[in-house]
Symmetry: C2
Subunit: 355 residues, 2 copies
């Protein structure tokens, strides 16, 4: 699949640049104190630990959809979005109390363990969370610093900065809905749509594409058209994520199956199942949602309910419909071949992905 080569190309380019940039920052931090150096090292390790770099690729190929003249500055924008991704994951992991991410410890877990090794005073958990909060803040400040320094058309640069930071508002709103959905009794399908649109569609697909387009001088009309492709595709992506998180392969996924259940997340899979089931099963679902020590048996039962109620099929069909919508939006739209091929490829990639 060409798309895999395209993704691999961006991954290589953006990681090379991130490594250089973060090494420079480690030198700067070393002049301040050993603890600053340690934090920057920790952040570098986290940022470079992997991921598909889908967002960076969307910035790059979003740019390639148009005749841009930003040169290497587009890689700066791609680096920025990856730093924003790290910032969001670091804070998200505190909120979700996750201990592993991308096959290694989360930042708060790492500082928690470091406390256990070195110190006796104060609480290791609070210590870990405190340092992870500011480590995430650092990643966001680095992302904005890079954008501010981009050597390119100043008007396009300003628009890119505004787009990225406005996207962060939307992610925060999505996260807020998400946190509330875990404590509230009822979550409506509409709220889940909104959450997916804010947290996944706007952030994972639309914003990176817009950033790339803006770097190339894309117009308001261009952005709207890209959104018509990005929003349904992003929602489909999130629904796929939910399905993989429950029915996927733990090894390929890099995170434990069922973590959404353990965290009490209301996904389409769960909300649709809740609509269909009768009282005893309904109570069962409500009881295991948010259960940190979910047993394999509980998980198996939940999966059976999701299959038997038709909720899995519903989610699959919804994802399929959204993907068709994205495909239709893209088909009608004249773009440079290099960019458009990638956007078409990413649709197929999302349909087929297993991680």
């Amino acid at each position: 699949m060409t798309i895999l080569n395209d993704l691999a190309y961006v991954k290589k380019e953006v990681e090379k640049r991130l490594e250089e940039f973060l090494d420079e920052k480690i030198s700067e931090a070393s002049e301040i104190s050993p603890s600053s150096r340690e934090m920057m090292n920790t952040l570098k390790d986290f940022v470079l630990r992997g991921g598909k770099r889908l967002r960076a690729a969307l910035v790059y190929y979003g740019y390639c959809c148009f005749h841009g003249e930003a040169g290497d500055a587009v890689w700066d924008a791609a680096m920025s979005i990856e730093l924003v991704q790290s910032f969001l994951l670091i804070h998200d992991d505190i909120i979700d109390e996750d201990t592993t991410r991308r096959g290694g410890p989360t930042i708060h877990q790492r500082y928690h363990d470091l406390h256990l090794e070195r110190y006796t005073r104060r609480d290791p958990r609070h210590f870990g969370e405190s340092l992870a909060i500011i480590c995430g803040d650092l990643a966001l400040a680095l992302a904005n610093e890079i954008l501010g320094n981009m050597p390119c058309n100043a008007r396009f640069k300003s628009k890119t900065i505004v787009a990225m930071n406005r996207m962060i508002h939307r992610v925060v709103y999505g996260e807020c809905l998400d946190i509330l959905s875990e404590v509230e009794n009822e979550t409506t399908e509409e709220e889940i749509h909104m959450m997916y649109r804010l947290k996944a569609a706007a952030y994972t697909i639309e914003c990176p594409l817009h950033m790339g387009a803006l770097m190339a001088g894309g117009t308001k009309k261009d952005l709207e058209r890209l959104s018509a492709y990005a929003i349904p595709l992003g929602e489909a992506f999130q629904i796929q994520d939910d399905i993989l998180g429950m029915f996927g392969d733990e090894e390929k996924l890099g995170k434990p199956i069922g973590s959404d259940i353990r965290e009490g997340k209301k996904t389409f899979l769960i909300v649709k199942a809740l609509e269909k089931v009768h009282l005893p099963q309904r109570e069962f679902i409500k009881n295991v949602l948010g259960k940190r020590d979910l047993s394999d048996g509980d998980l198996k039962t939940i999966k059976e309910i999701v299959v038997d109620t038709g909720s899995l099929d519903y989610s699959r069909e919804l994802a399929q419909r959204l993907i068709e919508e994205a495909r239709g939006a893209l088909g009608n739209y004249t773009l440079r071949k290099e960019g458009k091929d990638f956007l078409a490829g990413i649709i197929e990639f999302i349909v087929q992905r297993e991680y």
Copy 2:
């Protein structure tokens, strides 16, 4: 004192603009969901709850030191630094486990209370902290959005964005030292100097001044000269803060006396006292540092030790020396009168302040 009028002028202007801006954001948030609206309202309340707006004033008068042509955009930069201040306070308050700020509840405390009112599921503390983390993130994204949108010279704008975000790295490094000083056995005077330089001097005085100067097209040389004034003044400001926090008037201060002790903060007052005292008092200090339920008697004893060891005098003299240094740096420097008068006035303000 003219300086009070100058501060009052900036406070009025910047708060009026912040209110307008945040009201617009509340409208935007309302279209998304009630929880987004609630978060933006909570943030607005926090941002507008007060403070001297010293940083906004330094942006404005830093700009007035030069012949700038940024017009109203300088107020955007002033708003931004106040939003950054809120972002930092919100995260700091989680880290320090503070429940009140600016005469009202901290953000995490507010969401904690809201959880107790409305929900039964999950832990109110974690709920409060989670929402406060993302509410702080929102404030930082808003600050960067405002800077990105400033209608002014694009080169100056880029430099201002970079300056603000680079300052945030330094605050993070300072905070990191601060968190470590609470768990480590020994903190050196040099580490405290570094912490004060990063957290107070660079952030409270130097960065806002630089932002103002950059908005007016200030050169590298200008920034260096402003730093020669800002860094010693900022350190003196922090030392004053420590003294007021232990010997000041609780009502004027708006926060409880002795909170540094309760949080286990290593200030000059404490580190110098530890150097001088003998074993039983040394043990006493180490035992009460970080003691959440510090008694009035404990606090009185600590204050006596700080006075008797000459540590209070040491801090006062150090602050005085730093202030002389700032005065000297400013005296040699040709600047526009409106700006320079304010910078001179702020020295006297800091010498005399009681809150």
